[in-house]
Symmetry: C2
Subunit: 407 residues, 2 copies
């Protein structure tokens, strides 16, 4: 078994990095808080005797050779250390720490793996500062050129490459330098389903597609008191119409699964000035490729209508676009077996969130384990997963890795 | 006649203060740019030989005694030097400079007034940083306690009193130290009507009521991918519904004249996080007291509906509330006579914007002259009024002041 106390204590230690007195965690990619979190993980991995590699996009890969043949592809685990703004402590970190815990437990048990075992902390999974999300694993899997990724401009105007350099995590290794024989990721569910069905273990079979865009509306700034309603080209009202449309699109049958506008900016942003400009992001998701595409097309049509009706100019910028992913049935079966072997009830799931596993699935068979999120809350300081569930998830991960590394 | 060249050159000189290379003017109340603009006006007034007084709320009042009885109430003119964000150069400044020009022209013509003549530059007319708008004239007219006004907190967290002190305009004079025998204000129209009817002079008979509120919506921040639509308490969508409601309220018959949401903030403002909080301002206006009150009540009812339907908490904060104002019929007649005397066509108007004249009307008979705004655009760098219209407006102001100060 894994050492539950060590697992939980490390989740809390890493959780304290970037967390304020009110419990709000802000450990956004390539910030000083991200650096501190990374340093802690690297220190733990080194003290366990692992070889720590940093690649050019800042991914940390800690490897246990374990006496295995140097040429054998490793079993890889991983997740991320970066967070959203005002986050909880479990998203990402628990998977990274569980991966390290699995290796440490196997070392302590003098397990003799047939393959190296590695755990990765991927850069900028959340994508709140630099788009797209899952960037480190996407680059690792060859889905995005490393130079292009390093050139990404942040919401604060910074360049990711500069910031990685600044925090000391612009490494020399080539992303993808180890190809996974299999990739496993433990993550909190971040949704309400496991709690509803009352099981501790989710076996994730697939993951919905993600479509991210930035929408910029240009109207005409004018005086709030003197400009008749019919003469207005109000970028803010046009934006509001699109938010309501998106809510309806994702609520009615035949639309997409979820739609979210998380960011919004008005310009000049003054009380008595009609907004001349509104910029916001759109996050559309669906597990079905065709439905996601249809939702994007419906949105594009609605943007054309609003532009014509409200006399505004609307431009869109693509921030991320990932098709739905189906995980490896073989690995799913290994996870089911590991859960059943410990008499845990488990539940098949579709992931609503994006995860590094979806990128690693491009270069090796992959699947995920979910553990419950209380009240389905995540990306919020109130995010919470019970200790026994974290321990259960890590033990399923342990057994699955044992199975995969033992043959 | 006034000196048109001097008038226009000063409008341009003051217009350069706080204006960037792209023509955007940002001279928000009690900033360094406001100070520079004030300094320029004070220097011009002093060099013309006027007595310059600064009162406790930072209003600048420049007085020409002109040999008149020291006890006689003055004829006052005025407007403001502060601007919105990304403004044009005419709003406010043209009225202040025209007032100074009228006095200078009368001095040069050796006019012998029966009363002192004064021109004021009132503090924080725009209200974009500190609410309410028309603050300096409101305090001057006794409608707001000076200590309360000085304690106003800005959108940037500053205290107005501190900022006035910082820029050197926390003066010793008691607001209201001179009571106007009459108050006249020249201002650009900021709307499309004079251009549409094709006349240079608007004689303003009344001014619509203004209702400003801040609305804060508290929902629950959660994950954009994993949170089902029915489980959301999306503060951003709730805000969007209110924007669309307000647009409809002001567009349909029986609502109010105009409704505007000029500012908007989402929190945490991250692409894959459902907004847990949205804050925005609402500006409602109508020339009819009852209609304005009914519109406010309809909005309050809709806020209750949205709170119940969307599972969010909504609070409102009053930022400003001014009833409609009817200007003095006597002064309106003086302005009509001055315009007719110069063979200018003039047009009766209702002001859509708030103005210092509406506050000064509380302590003396007041009225306003409007000059046209090209394309009805204001609160925008494209704001423009033609030179001949500015000169015409200033000459009407001159003749009206002559009439009022001559008897
Ligand atoms: N797991 C997680 O929160 N990933 C962030 C990417 C997403 O928005 O789904
Ligand atoms: N004239 C002017 O723009 N005043 C600002 C106050 C208002 O919003 O009407």
């Amino acid at each position: 078994d894994i050492n539950g106390e060590r697992l939980l204590s490390r989740i809390r230690q890493l959780g304290a990095v970037g967390r304020d007195a009110e419990g709000r965690l802000v450990r956004v990619a390539a910030t000083d808080e991200d650096r501190q979190g990374r340093d802690l993980f690297v220190a733990w991995a080194r003290s366990a005797g692992l070889d720590v590699h940093i690649d050019r996009i800042g991914n940390i890969v800690a490897v246990w050779q374990g006496g295995a043949n140097g040429d054998a592809d490793p079993i890889m685990m991983g997740s991320h250390i970066d967070s959203v703004i005002d986050a909880g402590i479990y998203d990402g970190s628990s998977g990274v720490i569980a991966g390290l815990e699995v290796i440490t437990a196997l070392m302590e048990a003098r397990f003799m793996p047939q393959r190296p075992i590695a755990v990765a902390a991927f850069t900028n999974e959340e994508g709140v500062r630099y788009a797209p999300d899952m960037m480190g694993s996407l680059v690792y899997a060859g889905g995005l050129d490393v130079e292009e990724a390093l050139a990404s401009q942040g919401t604060d105007g910074t360049r990711l490459g500069d910031q990685l350099h600044r925090i000391g995590y612009a490494g020399p290794a080539e992303p993808g330098f180890l190809r996974p024989h299999a990739y496993l990721e433990l993550h909190i569910e971040q949704g309400p389903i496991l709690e509803q069905v009352g099981t501790a273990i989710g076996v994730v079979e697939n993951l919905q597609g993600i479509s991210w865009q930035r929408i910029i509306i240009e109207g005409v700034a004018n005086h709030a008191g003197t400009t008749p309603m019919q003469a207005r080209r109000d970028a803010g009202v046009a934006a509001a119409r699109i938010l309501v449309f998106l809510r309806d699109l994702a609520t009615r049958t035949g639309g997409c699964s979820v739609a979210t506008v998380g960011t919004m900016r008005f310009e000049p942003d003054a009380i008595n000035v009609i907004p001349g400009k509104a910029s916001f992001t759109v996050d559309l998701r669906d597990p079905d490729t065709e439905r996601l595409r249809a939702a994007e097309a419906e949105l594009a049509g609605f943007l054309r209508d609003v532009a014509a009706e409200d006399g505004v100019a609307i431009t869109t910028e693509r921030l991320a676009r990932f098709d739905p992913v189906v995980f490896s049935p073989e690995i799913v079966r290994v996870l089911e077996g590991a859960a059943s072997g410990r008499q845990y009830q488990w539940h098949h799931m579709t992931s609503g969130a994006g995860h590094d596993a979806q990128m690693m699935a491009r270069i090796g068979p992959a699947a995920m384990i979910f553990v419950p999120s209380r009240d389905g809350i995540s990306h919020n300081p109130r995010e919470f997963t019970a200790d026994p569930d974290l321990v259960a998830g890590a033990n399923v991960l342990l057994d699955a890795v044992k199975t995969l590394a033992g043959k």
